[in-house]
Assembly symmetry: C2
Homo-oligomer: 112 residues x 2
């Protein structure tokens, strides 16, 4: 709430669902139609369509219409924001990492 980037909300909630992550993985390799995507899951067409709507709102995919088919491709710009966010924490698991010493220090202060 004290934070700048509202986009991270939709990007991270999109990534929180395994079906959506799987869709991203697949359209990253190759542009696919909605039908081609939907066939891979035990879900209804409508359910997959909803997932795609979410991914599109988060700007993680791009949808273009080709005849009666809607072709989906990855639009990785938004992912970059999330990656940048996480990279921010990169130093943390190198420096004061959850290493053995870390836990040993924890132990000490805990006894205090």
């Amino acid at each position: 709430m004290v934070e700048y980037s509202i986009q991270l909300n939709s990007v991270f909630s999109s990534l929180a669902d395994p079906t959506r992550r799987d869709i991203l993985r697949r359209v990253a390799r190759k542009e696919l139609s909605v039908s081609e995507i939907a066939q891979s899951y035990k879900l209804t067409f409508a359910a997959v369509s909803k997932h795609l709507t979410m991914l599109e709102k988060a700007r993680l995919i791009h949808k273009r219409q080709e005849g009666r088919q809607h072709m989906i491709s990855l639009s990785p710009r938004a992912l970059k924001g999330a990656a940048t966010y996480l990279r921010h924490y990169d130093g943390m698991w190198r420096g004061r990492l959850d290493s053995l010493e870390h836990y040993l220090d924890r132990g000490k202060t805990h006894v205090r």
Copy 2:
């Protein structure tokens, strides 16, 4: 659903909430008690406590008890999984990026 990592679910849903991201940012700088954290938000104590429970389940924070206070610190191991996931897509926004040429190519195939 076709996917390996179940942990990514809880990590990404944790990151989807701006309050939780803000908590992470703050405890990354300095270990803080639950009270100290809660004071910064207009939420009730209980609400913040719930956020912390979520972050702990996602293994993004570590909670240790010191007297009657519970001290919270960042536990960045889990974030690494998310970062690794995103790094997977790193090449994408360098190579076939949403650049001008990309859209021009799109235009061509679209006409076909």
